[in-house]
Structures are given as structure tokens and as C-alpha cells.
């Protein structure tokens, strides 16, 4: 997927002027936090489970080589195949190789962010194979040639009229004047259309929420059942998974599952949590004849042992996204690559480079809500700060920002000069703003005053006031 992350500012400005997007965001913004809060309140042990979940992931990452090899050995014992892929190119080649070997014409797909990361649909299409997205949200996005704007609610940015318009335009064999009385009618049309695709597909591709080393099992979590149809009906099942999805045992997986749905949609448990181990057994009457796991690295192993390793604990619940004021204002497409919101602002620079994605860690108010709701207790703001440091060290920011930071740093390292400079500035602002009490424009603060007034200062600094009150208190 081609990144537009360097244009974050332009993307965000465009998003804020998009009436349809703002309508969708306003409708949806409050829903996820309220549902999560209710689910968490209903499980008194939730905080303890967060620590347990973090511990499981930290243990796994510290022994990731062992658990990956164990997982692969157990997949093979169950008759499946593991394809180790260092890069996105390796993974695309492996998927295409399987599809071509079995003569696949159509491929159904469950929702997978790794698939977005690989751009697998475009790759298959370029080789004459038709991919069909089966998650309802992903399906309409494929019809509209748009990427997802959210990692668990891909069509977050669309309104009902967008659905109706896209279905009329794409399902041209149905009467053009048909009426969609309610949302269910849209759903039913998609269900009927996709059922044919499920039955006709030669290969099914799903993602994985977890890979269980103990049993060589991949786990998917869905509400629609599309992932299950995708991995059950075709002759071949391909699992796309990145290396950090590994967990040691079934019991470890269960503990993480108790956190996942509650943090994501606010459900106690998702409708379908499915454990797949190898291909159809001799006596089975349904299920795929081949089972493949594409084990993707694509930059993740380079995060191990760095200050960004905690990001590999992420279970992709989207709680950070759902609670982020920046995401809630600009939507997912502004971030310009696969992963939006706080988790994307940390992960994207790791995967496509800080030169491409350096703007993302800056797109944060550092309110800290993301870290406070993260079930894996990932210190997201802290890691965004690390990326800002790297961006500065590598001279990637605009010259104006770099000069400003350098000037500030010079003063910040010289407390006496800092106090003098702020005293002069505050006195000046206090004097100038005495009459109106606010400024509607100020040099070097155009970004602030463009949207609101800056209140005038009282003419003295916090330091001065603090010192005065300390003296008064002692007296």
C-alpha cells in the first residue's frame, strides 16, 4: 500500500472539511468508549487481567524465537505448512505461489490488516486472480476502491447513503429502483451476494488474532461468521499472520481473549472465536484440504530489543483509536497508511520508516487516554515521544519547527536566561493585551490565533508568582 502519511497535515485539513466524514465521526465517536466502559465495569478483574495479558506477551517476546519454531513444528505435525517471510515481497510471492499452484480463480478473504499491509488484493488481481472481501465493511470498501479507515470497523467513515449508492452502482443485475427500507435490507443484499462467492471460491485467506505455539493453531475472532465461511468452504486455507501474534498456550490465549472483545467492541466475547489446526483430517466431512500459514516479519524483528518492543504486545483491539481525540477529528484515512490512530502513529514509522511517517507521532495531544485504555498497557505516548526525538535527530522536520525547537532548547538549558526571556515576554504581552484582554493575531503564533484568540497574560511569570506566594506563605 502506497503511504500518504507524509501529507498528514493536508489529509487532516481535507478530512475536517469533509461533511460526510464528520457526520460519521460525530455519530460513532461516543459509542465505542461507552460500550467498552460498560463491559469493563462488568468484569471486576479487568485490571488484573491487563497485567496478566502484558505479562504473557512480554514472556512470549522474550522467547519469540523458541515459540515461533514451536508453533511452526506443531503446524507441520498437524499437516499444515508454514511459510517464513522476511518481507512483504516474500509474503506476496508465497500467497500467489499457492494460488497459482492450485489453479485458483477466485479467492475469498476474511478481514486482515496484514493483507492491507501486503496489498495482497492488487497483487492477486495483477495475476488474474479475483479476490473477494467478505467482511461486510471490507466488501463495500472493495466496491468503492477505498482502504479501511479503522482496524476493526473498516467502513467507520461511511454513512447509510454511501452503502445504498455503492450497492446500486455495483449490483447492476438487481432492479435499479429497489428500496432499502432499513439497514437490514442492505445487509441481506450483501449476504446473498457473498454467499455465492463463498461457495465458488478456490482459496480462502484469513488473518489471525493469535498463533498458539503449544498446538500449532491459528485463531480468528469475528462477529459476522465470514471468516469461518472463508476458511471452511474453499479447498485451501491461507492464514496471514505477523510474528508477534504468537502466544504460548491455549490458557494464555483465553486470558488475552477476555481482554480483546471488551476492549474492542465492548462485547464480553465476540460471536465466533475459532481455533484452526491444520487441514481436514482423514475422517472429516468438511474443511480445507490444505492449510498454510504465512508468517510475516516485515520490520517487526527489528523492533525486538528496542524502545519500541512494547508495541509488539498489541492485540489490535483498537481501544486506543476509539478513544483518541485526534482520530475522532480527522478519521483514519488521514494517517495515510494501514494502521491509524495512536497504535498506527507508533507502528507505522517502525514499518515504513520515520522519514515517511514522521508526521504521525506529532499528531497527538499527549492526553494519554490511549495508554490508559490499552489492554496491553503499551506506553503509546512515550513511544511517540521516542519517534519525535528520532525525527529531530535525523533532521526530518520542517526548518521552522527545527529552528524553533533549537531556540527553545538553548534557553531551556540556561535557566537564568529562560526566566529573563519569559519575564520580558510576559510583561510585554501583558502590556500589549491590557486593553482587549486577548490577541486575535500574534507573530509566530498564527497556527493558534487562526482558530481562536490567545488570552493576554497577567504580565508576570509563573516563577515570579510562585516565588512571591512562597515568601508570603513563610511570612
Amino acid at each position: 500500500m502506497l503511504a500518504t502519511s507524509p501529507a498528514f497535515k493536508e489529509n487532516a485539513a481535507h478530512a475536517m472539511a469533509d461533511a460526510g466524514l464528520q457526520k460519521a465521526l460525530a455519530r460513532t465517536r461516543p459509542q465505542f468508549p461507552a460500550k467498552r466502559a460498560a463491559a469493563v465495569a462488568n468484569l471486576p478483574e479487568f485490571e488484573q487481567l491487563r497485567d496478566i495479558g502484558k505479562g504473557i506477551k512480554d514472556h512470549t517476546l522474550a522467547h519469540l524465537d523458541f515459540y515461533l519454531e514451536t508453533f511452526a513444528a506443531n503446524v507441520e505435525r498437524a499437516g499444515g505448512q508454514v511459510h517464513w517471510c522476511s518481507t512483504a515481497d516474500d509474503a506476496r510471492a508465497a500467497v500467489l505461489g499457492i494460488c497459482e499452484r492450485v489453479g485458483a480463480r477466485t479467492v475469498t478473504k476474511g478481514k486482515s490488516m496484514i493483507s492491507e499491509e501486503l496489498g495482497i488484493n492488487q497483487h492477486l488481481e495483477a495475476h488474474g486472480i479475483v479476490p473477494v472481501e467478505t467482511d461486510l465493511g471490507e466488501y463495500i470498501l472493495q466496491l468503492r476502491h477505498e482502504p479501511p479507515s479503522h482496524i476493526i470497523a473498516p467502513a467507520f467513515h461511511l454513512n447509510r447513503e454511501d452503502w445504498e449508492e455503492s450497492f446500486r452502482k455495483s449490483h447492476t443485475d438487481l432492479p435499479a429502483d429497489r428500496v432499502f427500507h432499513e439497514r437490514r435490507d442492505i445487509l441481506t443484499e450483501a449476504r446473498t451476494r457473498l454467499r455465492e462467492k463463498f461457495l465458488a471460491a478456490d482459496v480462502g485467506i484469513t488473518g489471525a488474532n493469535f498463533l498458539i505455539a503449544e498446538t500449532g493453531t491459528s485463531v480468528i475472532v469475528t462477529n459476522e461468521g465470514n471468516g469461518d465461511l472463508t476458511q471452511t468452504l474453499p479447498r485451501v486455507h491461507i492464514v496471514l499472520a505477523s510474528i508477534e501474534k504468537t502466544v504460548p498456550t491455549l490458557e494464555d490465549t483465553i486470558s488475552l481473549l477476555r481482554l480483546l472483545a471488551r476492549s474492542a467492541t465492548g462485547q464480553d466475547f465476540s460471536v465466533y472465536t475459532t481455533f484452526s489446526t491444520g487441514p481436514r483430517r482423514a475422517e472429516d466431512v468438511d474443511g480445507p484440504e490444505e492449510y498454510h500459514v504465512i508468517l510475516l516479519d516485515n520490520g517487526r524483528s527489528a523492533m525486538v530489543g528496542t524502545e519500541f518492543q512494547p508495541m509488539l504486545r498489541c492485540i489490535r483491539c483498537a481501544a486506543c483509536i476509539n478513544h483518541c481525540p485526534v482520530y475522532g477529528t480527522v478519521g483514519g484515512h488521514s494517517y495515510g497508511w494501514v494502521y491509524p490512530g495512536p497504535m498506527g502513529s507508533v507502528l507505522t514509522p517502525s514499518l515504513i520508516g520515520v522519514d515517511q511517517a514522521g508526521q504521525l507521532p506529532n499528531a497527538s495531544t499527549f492526553c494519554g487516554k490511549c495508554e490508559s485504555v490499552c489492554p496491553m498497557k503499551i506506553p503509546l505516548p512515550n513511544m511517540m515521544r521516542h519517534w519525535r526525538e528520532r525525527e529531530f535527530e535525523r533532521h526530518l522536520g520542517p526548518q521552522g519547527m527545527r529552528t524553533g525547537l533549537s531556540v527553545w532548547a538553548w534557553f531551556a538549558r540556561r535557566p537564568a536566561m529562560y526566566r529573563l526571556a519569559t519575564r520580558v515576554a510576559m510583561a510585554g504581552l501583558g502590556l500589549l493585551g491590557r486593553r482587549r484582554g486577548k490577541f486575535s493575531s500574534l507573530p509566530l503564533a498564527g497556527g493558534w490565533t487562526e482558530g481562536r484568540d490567545l488570552p493576554a497574560t497577567e504580565g508576570h511569570t509563573f516563577f515570579a508568582r510562585y516565588a512571591r506566594e512562597q515568601r508570603a506563605g513563610r511570612a
Partner: protein, 232 residues
């Protein structure tokens, strides 16, 4: 080769080579013991309350439950449910001995076919391996006696479950799975194990919940009261 490159990069990050033998043995022992973590208190209740919790949770997730006193009452309960929902009296049924042993002949109007589901099936009857009270979740392992497609293709799925098979937490259901299905198969899990909590749904259209996305629109549990301790 990608495998060596990936493992090598992970080890460089961890600032070590391959794990020494004693540590490998320690990790293998953890896998073999697969220790449980904290189990939430909500399902640690007396048997009758556990069954009630299971039923409450199935209903909360838009499923339905009917309790019957004995296996002999199952065909009648299935017939009554189909009639009440205005569904045809025919279904695909899991070829499980417990289901095959039910007195279906007492309900001659019910037409049943045994085996996996096909696209035209409107109703399926599945055998429930276990129920988890914690969230009203059914454990449905696939296999020759419980085809996976029965959980997916029809608009209505009926699951026949014995109350004695309801446990509190997921961990207990996985213990049953390990003991009864994995261990006889050399430790290998069944190819497919579904944990099902309510009927299929989607909130992709304007974040508004709609039932029956791709899987069943209705999920109905016929619960056989075979557990004396479970009766309230």
C-alpha cells in the same frame, strides 16, 4: 533463507544466541503444564446458578434457550421451535450418536438429513460439546460427528446441549476438549474448534447492530436437564 534471517534478527534484538538447553527445557515444561491464569469470579458459583448464568448470557447475546427434562423431549422441543418461528420442519443434523439416539420417529413430520450442511439448508441441528457459563458460549469442535458447516450455512442453528456439559470458565471447557478429543488424537486438537456466542451479527453499517450477517440469524439451544446437581 527467511526463517534463519527472522530468527537471527530476533536473537540479535534480544542480545543472545539460540536459547541454552536448560531454558528450552523450562519453556517446554511451561507448554506441557499450560498453567491457568486468573479466572474471573463470575462463574465460580453453585451449579444451579452456573446454569442460570449460561442461559442469561445466551439470551443477552440474542440467542434463545429452552430447557427440557430428558433427551426424549428434544424432538418435540425442536418441532415446537420450528413451528413457532414459522420455519419448515426439515433440517440437516450432526451424525452424532447422542442425536441419532433421540426418538425422532415420534415426530414423523420432522424431516432430517444427517451430515454436513449444504447451501440450501434453512435449519441445522448441532451437537453441543460444552457450554461456558462465563459468557454464554458454546464450544463446537468440528469433526465427522459435528461438521463445522452446520454452524455456518443455515439461517437457523439449533444446538442440543446437556446441562451436565455446562462449565463455568473457558479453561474448563478446554480441559474437556484436551481430555476427550485431543489426547486420544496424540495431543492434536480437532481441526476446527468454534466458540460461538449468540447468532451472527455486524455493526459495519453506521455502527448499528444487525443480526444474521453471514452465519445464522437465529441460535437456539435445547438444554437437556440431565444434571441433578444443576436443578434449582
Amino acid at each position: 533463507m527467511s526463517k534463519d534471517a527472522m530468527l537471527g534478527a530476533i536473537r540479535r534484538g534480544l542480545r543472545r544466541g539460540p536459547l541454552p538447553r536448560d531454558q528450552v527445557l523450562g519453556l517446554q515444561a511451561r507448554l506441557a503444564a499450560h498453567p491457568r491464569h486468573l479466572i474471573p469470579g463470575r462463574s465460580r458459583v453453585a451449579r444451579p446458578e452456573q446454569i442460570a448464568l449460561f442461559i442469561r448470557n445466551v439470551e443477552k447475546e440474542f440467542g434463545s434457550v429452552v430447557r427440557v427434562p430428558s433427551p426424549a423431549a428434544v424432538p418435540g422441543a425442536v418441532a415446537d421451535y420450528l413451528a413457532a418461528q414459522n420455519l419448515p420442519p426439515s433440517f440437516a443434523m450432526a451424525p452424532h450418536p447422542e442425536l441419532q439416539a433421540l426418538p425422532w420417529d415420534e415426530r414423523p413430520l420432522l424431516q432430517r438429513r444427517e451430515g454436513k450442511a449444504v447451501a440450501s439448508d434453512q435449519v441445522t441441528v448441532q451437537h453441543g460439546f460444552a457450554g461456558v457459563a462465563e459468557t454464554g458460549t458454546l464450544m463446537l469442535p468440528g469433526g465427522p460427528r459435528r461438521p463445522t458447516t452446520l454452524n455456518l450455512l443455515a439461517e437457523t442453528e439449533i444446538v442440543v446441549l446437556r446441562a451436565s456439559r455446562i462449565v463455568g470458565a473457558y479453561e474448563e471447557a478446554f480441559d474437556l476438549l484436551r481430555a476427550e478429543l485431543a489426547e486420544p488424537a496424540g495431543g492434536m486438537l480437532p481441526r476446527n474448534v468454534m466458540l460461538v456466542t449468540g447468532p451472527s451479527r455486524s455493526a459495519d453499517i453506521e455502527s448499528t447492530l444487525e443480526l444474521g450477517a453471514h452465519g445464522p440469524r437465529r441460535l437456539h439451544v435445547v438444554l437437556i436437564d440431565d444434571d441433578d446437581a444443576a436443578r434449582a
